[in-house]
Amino acid sequence: MEKELITLSHICKSYNGQMILDDLNLVIHENEFVTLLGPSGCGKTTTLRIIGGFEIPDSGQVIFDGQDITNLVPNKRQLNTVFQKYALFTHMDIADNIAFGLRIKNKTDQYIRDKISYALKLVNLEGYEHRMPDSLSGGQQQRIAIARAIVNEPKVLLLDEPLGALDLKLRQDMQYELIRLKKELGITFLYVTHDQEEALTMSDHIVVMNQGYIQQEGSPEDIYNEPENAFVADFIGDSNIISATMIRDELVRILGIEWPCVDKGFGNEQPVDVVIRPEDVELVPRGQGRLPGVVSHIIFKGVHYEMEVQAGGFEWLVHSTKEFPEGTEVDIRVDPFNIQVMNRPASEDEQAIGVEDV
């Protein structure tokens, strides 16, 4: 593991009496692509702004590279931000925008010229030095915002929903671009988004947040395959989240039927939630599976069919490349390692964190 670069400890922040962040603890390592992922109002942007210096936490500490920077002004921090909606200086041309930070630091003209052409090359916008920001498309403006930030050689680049204002195709292109930039620059990226697909595509490490708490941290694979609670399961991709009872290790009762699984350590006869991804639900002819059901709805999604199957009093979401017309009687089969068992929130307080319609 790389060394710790940013440590947030016991960060609390509230606005007008409303708690935005409640005792947040987070460690960001050097040279990682970290994504703060969550719905709007989950505290992800506030976390970013606290690291950037635009907000001061009510309590807690921000440690950057071994130093306490909690109350340090933004212009003294060794990091740069790419803002939502670009925030370019519209009264300056592209070259002056990119040179802004370097001129403040009194770099030589030659150094600044070299940096501008290096940065424009990096973001594939060579020859745009003397254009004005308003004459550029959204995607181009965003690249300039990135160029303007990285010429200052920050240790961390903070990105606040930078692709939010772009259309779908451009957003996907920019995702690959950001991954490439991250590799070429070899610095830490801290990325904020509410788009789970963006997070899964780009990140080394995802931090899922909701209502001011961190719900789960881990690699994209961990977050997707082994969500720790119903909120994460529901927020990351489509899923079937079902109340169940853990009978004993490796055996769980779902919708009245016993299913073998691979999870252990939940105790005996313990109420739990299970999550089963729609692509992990197998539909087989009646009699060959564990739970009988009827296909109630089917739509074609291109790569697969998306079906709803009524089985055991639950509406299962199923993704399959095989077509089962509406009304088909089927059985449901799930491989034991595709059943992800999660702790059921114990108190009402924790319940509030999760999804309501479990």
């Binding site: 212009n75 740069n80 931000t81 925030a87 519209t90 802004f100 403040i104 915002a145 303007r148």
Partner: protein, 272 residues
């Protein structure tokens, strides 16, 4: 917006008529009077009379006072605009109302009330002597005129500056700080340049009425201080020399046109 040019022209025609009758015709008349004498012969003497010492003095004084008033208005309006823009959501409505409220009163009445405030035995000196402080003698001085101009024209400076400040995205300011600029550098390199269009329209809207006013100087300057506006007014209302009055007006117009060309050029440059 309109289906075709014809409809658009039809709807615009009353405005064209208005512009013709109430703007272009009077302008042409001023030019006609300005460049002719009583006999109807063409002459440049009316315009040239600006070179006469008393006319020249009144023009220079008017320019001086207008420049000073504009600068004072700017220095007062900019910080206030920043305060207003910062509190976009909360108190700005009240503050704005407070500054706009005087405009609900008649302009002459407002200026007249300054007369009673500033008089040698007026309200301010009354208060000062009550507190056993030395009294001031401001009325009938250029300072009184500047006070009157600033009081009357300040809202015209505040509004455009406030609007241009309010338009700046908070993140643009944050971006400057993020890139290493301290508060002063951020102001000089980002905030101020971004508000230049607002400053220009504020300056124009204060400078032109300040340059041409005669009511404020008459009421607060006494009869001794003559601005170019007063001279022109007197040519029309006292000596009935419309030719001379129009000639001096033409000179004044030159300054206004220069001011407007400068603003237009700066704004165009800004748009490029």
């Amino acid at each position: 917006m309109f289906k075709n040019r014809k409809t658009a022209n039809l709807i615009a025609s009353p405005y064209f008529a208005w512009a013709l009758v109430f703007i272009l015709v009077p302008l042409a008349m001023i030019l006609w009077y300005g460049f002719t004498d009583d006999a109807g012969h063409l002459t440049a003497a009316n315009v040239a009379s600006i070179a006469q010492p008393e006319h020249w003095k009144s023009l220079v004084l008017a320019l001086e006072l207008a420049v000073i008033s504009t600068i004072v208005c700017f220095l007062l309006a900019y910080p206030l605009g920043m305060i207003l823009a910062k509190n976009k959501m909360s108190s700005s409505g009240i503050i704005t109302t407070i500054f706009i409220l005087p405009m609900w009163m008649n302009f002459l009445l407002r200026t007249f009330s300054w007369m009673t405030l500033l008089e040698n035995h007026g309200v301010i000196n009354g208060l000062l002597s009550l507190l056993r402080l030395p009294t001031i003698s401001v009325i009938n001085t250029p300072s009184a005129i500047v006070i009157g101009m600033v009081y009357n024209f300040l809202p015209f400076m505040i509004m455009p500056i406030y609007n241009s400040l309010a338009k700046i995205d908070d993140n643009v300011i944050n971006a400057a700080r993020d890139l290493g600029a301290n508060a002063v550098q951020t102001f000089l390199r980002v905030t101020l340049p971004l508000t230049i269009p607002g400053i220009i329209s504020g300056v124009t809207m204060v400078f032109i009425p300040a340059l041409t006013t005669f009511a404020i100087s008459t009421m607060l300057g006494g009869s001794k201080i003559l601005l170019i506006g007063n001279v022109i007014e007197q040519e029309f209302t006292l000596t009935y020399d419309w030719h001379l009055g129009s000639g001096l007006s033409v000179v004044l117009m030159v300054f206004i046109v220069i001011n407007m060309i400068v603003s237009a050029l700066t704004e165009n440059k800004d748009e490029q």
